[in-house]
């Protein structure tokens, strides 16, 4: 394989363009540093009509939006998925880890749920509370100013609730709940489950003149062409380019390793250009990894040298360890009251308008850590699968006959349309040293780069938490006079606990800490071993909290980027 080298030396090379990489690009380039962004996928702009899927009706797809090419359906804006041709990963023993990758500018921020929750004070100090896992070396007060800045820079709607561990921010006003969400509010409150307006990074109100305001098409997973939701490209990288930053974008460029010199310092990266299958080298004074927790760990582990025989930043032997994903559990139900409902446009934003933060004290429970509840349902856009088993809900009325043919099917279709609700729990798992990704010594991808092998087992804490989710959902569903669509999964099915990785909140592979023996990066996400390499994706997360990781990735990336600027000013690079 040919290796090409450019003579230019960048101040910073950023690997990956999702939440962390986008934030680093914006902050560092606006400070006047020259930046190379190296992205494994193609250029993507949600406003590009060639790439746009927003506002497309199902019949613009020959498969009516089915998920055969894109897992979450044709219109979901993630190029990649659980399985990418030629880029496999392997599993140890009975591990069944799912690894979702999105190869495109902006990465997974183009399709994510926009749930933008701050970690609370307790979330950084869980070991002090329950003795499990590890405390972060920083606390809420360290990160609060950055959450505030992220709120104002990117925009998030929500309400002030004055809850200690669900800190308030600088919110835009939330949209009103939908009909099924009102059913949820009343039913959850009957069980003393707190319900409040959601906190999503969608612009219900104008934030600045560069971005539009939400027009309620429910298409956030399709990425917004007026930039009214947060995607890293449209809200961080494009504005940084517009404000004159020195940014060179390398797309379709898969980073293989961080290169180092004789002193063991990073000198840049080597990457494979997917267009010509040639390996290139880029020189940089600082390397910022933001390729996603597992991809960044993979790059570090593959960056072996005389100075770093165990992989870069891996003197602790902890790179890849403490991998953990959110727990997940779901229940779906039929609300008989909603049959033959009046139809109207209830699309709203691309996500729920209300949710439940964790509301209980674990002292009274048989598991550690909590979960939040997400709500879905209603008069959704028809797509492939709509109308399947059209009248199987007949069974809820004691009619043990379904199917048939003829125009009565049209009536059945309308009768049951919009009559379901779904509840999803997304919770905190405990990071385990024994859950990890490592390099598979026997396998390379189509670019010749050694691939990851996963080793992951849930513990009793997660399994019992999943059971609690199911019991809670059942009670709430009962309260609203609804009927679950399927039986509660039992012990043999881990009470419906999702597979690790499935919630796509994988974090922890380059954990943060003050002691280089038991952590990979310091509080500024800087490798303990190599001062000019930083990791600004979710790798440094010590614990996951019962929150979605993106807002914390953004705040930490901003904080670390400011540290990089400070060090540049001190001429430390």
């Amino acid at each position: 394989m040919q290796i090409k080298q450019s003579s230019k030396e960048y101040d910073v090379i950023i690997v990956g363009s999702g939440a962390g990489g986008g934030m680093a690009t914006k902050v560092l380039s606006e400070a006047g540093l020259s930046v190379a962004v190296v992205e494994a996928g193609p250029y993507y702009d949600p406003a590009n009509p060639e790439q746009m899927t927003q506002l497309k009706p199902a019949y613009h797809s020959p498969r009516r939006g089915a998920g055969t090419t894109r897992f979450f359906g044709d219109y979901d804006q993630a190029y990649g998925g659980w399985d990418i041709d030629g880029e496999p990963y392997s599993q140890n023993d009975d591990t069944d880890f799912r690894w979702f990758r999105s190869r495109m500018l902006g990465g997974r921020t183009n399709h994510w749920g926009r749930i933008s929750l701050r970690f609370g004070p307790d979330d950084f100090k869980k070991k002090s509370i329950d003795g499990l896992g590890e405390d972060w070396p920083i606390g809420y007060d360290d990160i609060k100013p950055y959450y505030d800045k992220v709120d104002k820079l990117i925009g998030v709607f929500g309400t002030k609730e004055n809850m200690y561990n669900e800190p308030d921010g600088f919110f835009l006003p939330p949209p009103k709940p939908r009909l099924h969400e009102l059913f949820y509010v009343n039913a959850a409150r009957k069980s003393n489950v707190k319900v409040m307006p959601s906190r999503l990074s969608v612009l219900t109100k104008r934030l600045n003149n560069d971005r539009g305001v939400c027009f309620y098409c429910n298409g956030c997973a399709r990425s917004c062409n007026v930039y009214a939701d947060f995607s890293s490209g449209s809200c961080l990288i494009f504005p940084a380019q517009k404000s004159g930053g020195q940014i060179d974008l390398f797309v379709n460029s898969m980073v293989r390793t961080v290169t180092t010199n004789n002193e063991g310092k990073a000198t840049g990266v080597s990457f494979i250009d997917k267009e010509d299958n040639t390996e290139y080298k880029l020189k940089g004074k600082v390397v910022v990894l933001a390729a996603s927790a597992c991809s960044s760990a993979r790059i570090l582990l593959n960056s072996k040298s005389k100075q770093h025989p165990n992989g870069l930043g891996n003197s602790s032997d902890l790179v890849g360890r403490y991998l953990h994903d959110s727990t997940g559990g779901d229940m779906m139900a039929f609300i008989p009251q909603l049959i033959n409902r009046k139809t109207y446009n209830e699309d709203g934003v691309g996500g729920m308008h209300v949710y439940s933060p964790w509301w209980l004290d674990n002292k009274n429970l048989d598991f550690a850590r909590g979960y939040h509840i997400e709500v879905w349902g209603g008069l959704g856009a028809p797509s492939y699968g709509t109308g399947f088993n059209v009248n199987s809900f007949n069974k809820f009325f004691g009619i043990n006959k379904a199917g048939g043919y003829g125009n009565s099917l049209r009536d059945d279709m309308k009768k049951y349309y919009g009559s379901t609700i779904g509840l999803s729990g997304r919770g905190e798992s405990i990071a385990q040293k024994t859950n990890y990704c490592e390099i598979d010594p026997n396998k390379v991808d189509k670019y010749g780069v050694p691939v990851l092998r996963f080793n992951y087992k849930w513990t009793d804490n997660e399994i019992k938490q999943a059971k609690h989710m199911q019991d809670t959902f059942e009670e709430i569903i009962h309260n609203m006079g609804a009927i679950p669509l399927w039986g509660k999964p039992g012990k043999e099915a881990n009470y419906g606990l999702t597979k690790p990785g499935q919630i796509i909140h994988e974090v922890g592979t380059t954990r943060m800490g003050s002691n280089p023996k038991d952590s990979v990066v310091n509080e500024f996400e800087q490798l303990h071993d190599v001062s000019n390499v930083f990791v600004v994706d979710a790798g440094p997360f010590v614990s996951q909290a019962d929150k979605n990781p993106t807002w914390t990735i953004l705040a930490l990336a901003m904080r670390s980027s400011e540290k990089i600027i400070e060090e540049f000013k001190k001429q430390n690079f």
Binding site: K56, R63, A66, Y384, T386
Partner: protein, 234 residues
């Protein structure tokens, strides 16, 4: 289409789906061409290649497609909103069989079964049976107990369930079907809550403590500003 037309279709079987669509569906050649190239839906170059490959392949014979046309019309007869041809249901079945290859054999085997059943009972292939005869066959495979697993039913019941599912989804994801269903979204609008008459119908109201917190849609275009405590002041 009468018996003679169906024989004509058989004659043309090798010529391609286009002719079938033109002859049997009364759709112009120009329209067919447009329908094959009109799918502009944000594909990556790799996805486009995959779609092109599926479009280039022909799986069902014209006779088989014609049988599906008959079946789909029995499942959802035309009404004032539309019909399965407007909704391009048969085209969807052809496409999905290629897109989800595990559909291929079961879909074809069901067609073979229904013709052999028709010949056995009425000495005719299914499409040439009288409607009452067609319904007599369907009545025996069209129903199931929703408390039971469909996979435990005989093949013809499972097959018809699949054809019904594809027909229903094909119709209700089409332009005419979406309109008939009453889905009104996927278009720019301002969401300002559940309509009052709907709230009244279910005896619901918005939490009074929340009402002041929701977006005031008349101010949605005023640039957001906050005081230092995070209170919105615009």
């Amino acid at each position: 289409m009468n018996r003679r037309d169906s024989i004509k279709t058989l004659t043309f079987a090798s010529i391609g789906a286009g002719l079938l669509l033109e002859g049997c569906y009364g759709i112009s050649r120009e329209k067919i061409k447009r329908s094959l190239t009109r799918y502009e839906y944000g594909r990556t170059p790799e996805e486009k290649l995959y779609d092109d490959k599926l479009f280039a392949e022909k799986y069902f014979t014209n006779y088989e497609l014609f049988t599906f046309d008959k079946l789909c019309n029995l499942i959802l007869p035309p009404n004032e909103f539309g019909n399965i041809r407007d909704a391009e249901v048969v085209q969807l079945i052809e496409f999905m069989a290629k897109d989800i290859p595990s559909y291929k054999e079961p879909l074809r085997e069901g067609l073979i079964w229904i013709d052999s059943e028709s010949k056995k009972r009425f000495n005719n292939v299914f499409v040439d049976c009288e409607i009452s005869q067609q319904k007599e066959i369907l009545d025996e495979i069209a129903y199931y107990d929703p408390n039971k697993n469909i996979d435990d039913y005989p093949q013809p019941v499972q097959w018809f369930n699949l054809v019904r599912n594809l027909t229903m989804t094909g119709y209700f994801t089409s332009e005419v079907g979406i309109k008939e269903l009453g889905y009104k979204g996927n278009s720019p609008n301002i969401w300002d809550g559940v309509p009052q008459d709907v709230l009244d119908q279910y005896n619901l109201e918005y939490d009074k403590n929340w009402l002041d917190k929701f977006i005031d849609q008349s101010k949605r275009n005023d640039i957001a500003q906050w005081d230092e405590k995070g209170n919105l002041i615009t």
